[in-house]
């Protein structure tokens, strides 16, 4: 055997440089806290952000945006701008009408009769939100491009703004899209898989206890730290383009850009370089991507556009923004009868890529972990003259989780029950899995009891309840509140058949390739696109574990449609659950083939060859062995392969999940509320998440921390506010309050492990769990603190002023305090 290897030139070179051949695999990669491979460049400033990129002859694009929420465009005059120094071109929407495509895509028509308005990258006749693009400047540098915007003269004829969803649905309301005759985008009526809610409640007669609340999911601005940006490098003569974008979805973007602009897909390469966070806001096809592309095509020059934060707050999609009318019913003994959900979901002025799908995704999540015989979900999508909404971390699931976890507390209060005991009475017990819940999902696994027990141990529930009682009794100006959130979510988006049944325009599979290189190193190609999560590290661990090669020897290729040609990208906590499983399956195929080659080289029957720790050996004669690296080299040399075998050691796998995955957990929050000022301080935050098997516990913990921060921020700090004229009042970080290190507490985190049974890795996903779970935990705690004042709800964010007004009203009404 060794003679054959030595005969090869490559092998000789490697023999002189023994380090080139890998050291043996150390083992135990899955579940190991590996340092991140991503960090070196990020910590030394050698990152490749989109705005870092420069090209010979690069031109800069700026976008003139509407200062009005709603107006007819009478005229756009760019002639003065064209006279400005350094300006190469200037275009109105009409100037580009024949090249910019008929409409930007919405991939999720949630009902057959959904109203889908035309959405051009630049407005041509009418602007419909503050920030809607009206014209563009192309100039030699970014300063000249900024100056020239001010020289564009636009004449508007102002139309009435429509800011409030309920007003928008009223007869005679001004129409966002006059040609559609309505501001209602869709009505999605979902009966679930159980009984009718109203009939079930009626049948229960006097035994039914019904609690109804209206919750508001305020509008949020996702705010990844990196704003958006695009660079387009054309080879105009060949009609070929490379588009670099701060996107979560280079693969989907390529398809959509090809469909929108008519540029043939094979002529278009889309690259997501290093991307500074996304949180759903970069899960889209944006006007500026199309504009930069078609203008680069028109001028034959490279174009860069870099968004400012002020633009980002107006022109990048927002999240949440629902009015939720929630009705829950139980028997007097607390057994749930059912849930009815009536939503208004603000689309904003147009439909972006999955705008209408976000609330509809939530339809499946409202019943959460609870057993109930009946369910009804009715959602109206509504157009308003505001920035379009779309996915924001959790996308439909945080809204649902908030509603069910809030209303469970209110039901407990109405019944005079402990909120945790009421949950325990109604949740699915671990013996009952797999369990098909009332909205029709089949939860494969879970153990809510175990997570809750661990969380309660970490939290000191008994001690905190005693302190709460003491503070209430002594009428302490600082009151203590305790909030619970026992959540689940659906991750791993998604089985393609399910997406098809929901009219989504694409599948939910993910692609992977694993290539063993001649020197025994490995390249793993993934269709999941990283933007901070740590894919390079996690994927290396999965491959190392399967192939028995060292972690250090594995490199990730991703985020570029030329080198990772197939993918569905990164969102919906899907990377590990779908993309990770694809890699696991692809490495399995590599291993199978390597085993056949090893058996051939070892002159043994395949069935007699064992693989362990990166080495193939023959049963019963351990001296006859080959490392997987030796097999890779022999495959490359191809001197002695089984007859007819292709000389390669690589494989592809496209994995389409058979089910969603269902992470769950128990979050417990204690807040101190200063009833004099209304200020809320988080005293203690405990979360125990069950995300199944884990690959890297440190990355998992980081995802949980970051998710908690965003969920807590929704509860206490963040809100996009529009005035009656449709101006975004919170147009910068001065007014849109993001929490800093000084505003957030230490989180106590824990984990239980109930593996998913629907995928071979047993993983469930963790990207959104913290965000989904934490918002209701915090608000439940605030409401709990204020119950002595007769308070049973508070709008988010629970600002000091809102708290103070509720305390004032409660005190005025003679509440117990």
């Amino acid at each position: 055997m060794t003679e054959q290897l030595d005969a090869g030139l490559v092998a000789e070179q490697i023999a002189e440089n023994p380090d080139a051949l890998s050291s043996p695999y150390a083992g135990g990669e899955l579940g190991r806290g590996r340092r991140r491979k991503e960090d070196a460049k990020l910590l030394t400033g050698q990152t490749n952000w989109t705005d870092n990129m420069t090209l010979p002859g690069l031109l800069h694009m700026t976008v003139l945006r509407s200062p009005m929420a709603h107006a007819k465009i009478i005229s756009v005059d760019v002639s003065a701008a064209l006279e400005m120094p350094g300006v190469i071109a200037a275009y109105s929407g009409k100037d580009l009408a024949d090249v910019m495509g008929a409409s930007m895509p919405c991939a999720w028509p949630v009902t057959p009769d959904m109203v889908s308005p035309v959405h051009t990258p630049l407005a041509t006749d009418e602007v419909r939100y503050v920030g809607d693009g009206v014209a563009v400047i192309i100039a030699r540098d970014r300063y000249a491009a900024a100056d020239a915007l001010e020289a564009i003269a636009v004449e508007y004829d102002q139309l009435p703004a429509v800011v409030d969803m309920e007003q928008a649905l009223k007869e005679g309301a001004p129409l966002v899209h006059a040609d559609k005759g309505t501001n209602q985008c869709f009505l999605f009526d979902f009966p679930g898989a159980g009984a009718d809610f109203d009939e079930t409640v009626a049948a229960a007669g006097d035994d039914a206890v019904v609690v109804k609340r209206r919750f508001r999911q305020q509008r949020l601005i996702p705010t990844p730290m990196e704003c958006r940006g695009v660079v387009v490098a054309p080879i105009a003569a060949a009609d070929e383009f490379t588009l670099y974008s701060t996107t979560q979805i280079p693969h989907v973007l390529r398809v959509m850009l090809a469909l929108t602009t008519g540029i043939p897909e094979q002529k278009l390469r889309v690259v997501a370089p290093d991307v500074g966070g996304g949180f759903g806001a970069k899960l889209n096809v944006y006007a500026e991507e199309i504009l930069a592309l078609v203008i680069a095509r028109k001028l034959g020059r490279p174009i860069k556009w870099t968004e400012s934060r002020s633009e980002n707050y107006q022109a990048t999609t927002h999240g949440r923004d629902q009015i939720q009318d929630i009705t829950i019913a139980s028997k007097k003994d607390g057994t749930l009868l059912g849930l009815k959900v009536e939503l208004l979901a603000d689309m904003g002025a147009y439909l972006q890529l999955i705008t209408p799908g976000v609330p509809v995704l939530g339809a499946f999540m409202f019943p959460a972990i609870y057993k109930m015989p009946s369910y009804r979900f009715i959602c109206r999508g509504v157009f308003t003259t505001k920035t379009p909404t779309d996915a924001y971390r959790g996308a439909g699931r945080p809204e649902a989780t908030y509603a069910i976890e809030r209303i469970m507390d209110e039901l407990a209060d109405t019944l005079g029950r402990d909120p945790m005991e009421l949950r325990k009475q109604n949740w699915i017990t671990h013996e009952e899995f797999p369990y098909t819940m009332v909205a029709g999902l089949t939860y494969d696994s879970g153990n809510y009891e175990a997570a809750t027990e661990k969380a309660e141990q970490m939290f000191d529930m008994v001690g905190l309840r005693a302190e709460q009682k003491a503070r209430r009794e002594r009428k302490d100006p600082v009151q203590l509140g305790i909030g619970i959130s026992t959540f689940t979510e659906m991750c791993g988006l998604a089985p393609s058949r399910v997406l098809g049944s929901l009219s989504y325009g694409a599948g939910g599979w993910e692609s992977a390739s694993v290539r063993m290189l001649p020197t025994g190193k490995v390249e793993v190609v993934s269709g999941a696109t990283p933007h901070g999560q740590g894919h390079h590290t996690a994927w290396s661990q999965i491959v190392a574990d399967s192939l028995g090669v060292p972690f250090e020897d594995i490199e990730l290729v991703a985020g570029d449609t030329k080198s990772s040609p197939k993918g569905m990208d990164t969102y919906g906590s899907r990377s590990l659950v779908v993309g990770g499983v694809a890699i696991h399956k692809a490495t399995g195929k590599v291993l199978d083939k390597a085993k056949r080659i090893a058996a051939h080289l070892l002159e043994a029957a395949e069935g007699d060859v064992e693989f362990k720790g990166g080495t193939f050996s023959v049963k019963g004669s351990p001296e006859a062995s080959l490392t997987i690296q030796q097999v890779a080299l022999a495959t490359f040399a191809a001197h002695n392969l089984p007859d007819g075998m292709e000389p390669s050691l690589d494989s592809d796998y496209v994995y389409d999940p058979e089910n969603f995955s269902y992470p769950h957990g128990t979050h417990l929050c204690a807040v101190e509320v200063d009833t004099e000022t209304g200020f809320t301080t988080i005293r203690k935050y405990v979360c125990v998440d069950d995300i199944g098997k884990i690959v890297n516990p440190v990355i998992v913990q980081g995802q949980v921390h970051g998710g908690l921060a965003q969920g807590i921020a929704q509860a206490l700090y963040e809100e996009a506010v529009y005035d009656a004229e449709g101006n975004l009042s919170t147009g910068s970080m001065v007014d849109y309050l993001l929490p800093s290190a000084a505003d957030l507490p230490h989180f106590d985190t824990g984990r239980t492990e109930t593996p998913a049974t629907s995928n071979p890795l047993g993983v469930k996903g963790v990207g959104e769990a913290g965000t989904i779970a934490s918002t209701p935990a915090v608000i439940n705690a605030v409401v709990d603190a204020l119950r002595p004042f007769g308070v049973n709800d508070i709008d988010m964010p629970a600002t000091p002023e809102r708290v103070w007004r509720l305390v004032q009203a409660g005190s005025a009404n003679g509440a117990t305090q």
């Binding site: 004099e676 910068s732 800093s740 505003d743 600002t799 000091p800």
Partner: protein, 285 residues
């Protein structure tokens, strides 16, 4: 975002700076630390023709004693004010409030004089200057004049400086005797502007409150003095009940704005609570 174009001069003396302002006319602007001005320029909320940068004028920096006054140069950075031993000894309230301005990086650039001349009623230092009866020294083509803090702040972002005048130094009467100070800043997140702030200095004598100085942040278009509280505390017993009763007057004479951050009645309530807390702390209770 990117500022519109402007001319720039960086004179090395006050006289040259004043000449530059005179020459620049109404659209000339003084650049101190730039921590308020540069964001304003980036957002294109202001279009100065020329910026007169004071960074090369060393005489505008530093803290010194001059008889009964502590003199703080207008270009003294917040970070230096916070650390300065003379400020700690004679005007601790200035240091206490300056330490809450924005964040450390901004305090490395932002200046004491720049913050006062910007005259944002939500800024933390104007209320302090008012409470301590600071005298602001301006220099213009006609020489120097001294303006009492009470006269300096005219309206929202407006001072009694004329366009060709520079704020050169701030004279703060030394607090001699047994003074305690506190600045209660109320904001929703740590780096946000104050919704309301209460800047308080209290002189204790024989167990009672001999004198109190109280300035309020963001309770009107200028910083305001809580005179009624001061009057109620003068010579009063230093106990919780007396302080609470006095603090009930905190919103008297204020014209608190209603805006995105808070409605005026909530601000008035906060002014009372924060004043009570700040006085309590400053009185050492």
């Amino acid at each position: 975002m990117i500022p519109a174009a402007f001319d720039y001069v960086a004179p090395s003396s006050v006289a040259d700076a004043i000449s530059a302002l005179v020459e620049g006319g109404e659209d000339a602007k003084v650049l101190a630390g730039g921590q308020s001005l540069i964001p304003v320029l980036r957002l294109r909320l202001s279009y100065p023709s020329v910026l007169v940068d004071l960074r090369k004028i060393d005489s505008l920096r530093g803290v010194r004693e001059d008889g009964a006054d502590l003199v703080i140069g207008a270009m003294t950075r917040h970070a230096d004010v916070v650390k300065d031993p003379l400020v700690k000894q004679y005007a601790a309230l200035v240091a206490t409030a300056a330490a809450t301005v924005a964040d450390p990086a901004v305090r490395h650039r932002g200046t004491f004089g720049g913050a006062l001349a910007h005259a944002d009623p939500a800024g933390d230092l104007a209320a302090v200057a008012l409470a301590l009866d600071a005298q602001l020294v301006a220099e213009g083509p006609g020489g120097r004049r001294t303006i009492a803090a009470a006269d300096f702040f005219q309206d929202y972002l407006q001072t009694s400086l004329s366009p060709d005048e520079l704020l050169v130094e701030v004279r703060v009467p030394k607090l001699e005797g047994q003074w305690g100070v506190a600045y209660e800043k109320f904001n929703r997140t740590a780096q946000a502007w104050a919704i309301v702030g209460a800047a308080v200095a209290v002189r204790r004598e024989n167990g009672s409150i001999a004198e109190a100085r109280i300035g309020l942040t963001n309770m009107g278009s200028t910083p305001v003095r809580a005179s009624a509280v001061e009057a109620a505390l003068a010579g009063a017993a230093a106990d919780a009940g007396t302080i609470a009763a006095a603090a009930e007057h905190a919103a008297e004479g204020t014209t608190a704005p209603s805006d995105l951050s808070a409605q005026s009645d909530y601000r008035e309530h906060l002014a009372r609570v924060l004043t009570r807390r700040a006085v309590t702390t400053a009185a050492g209770l």
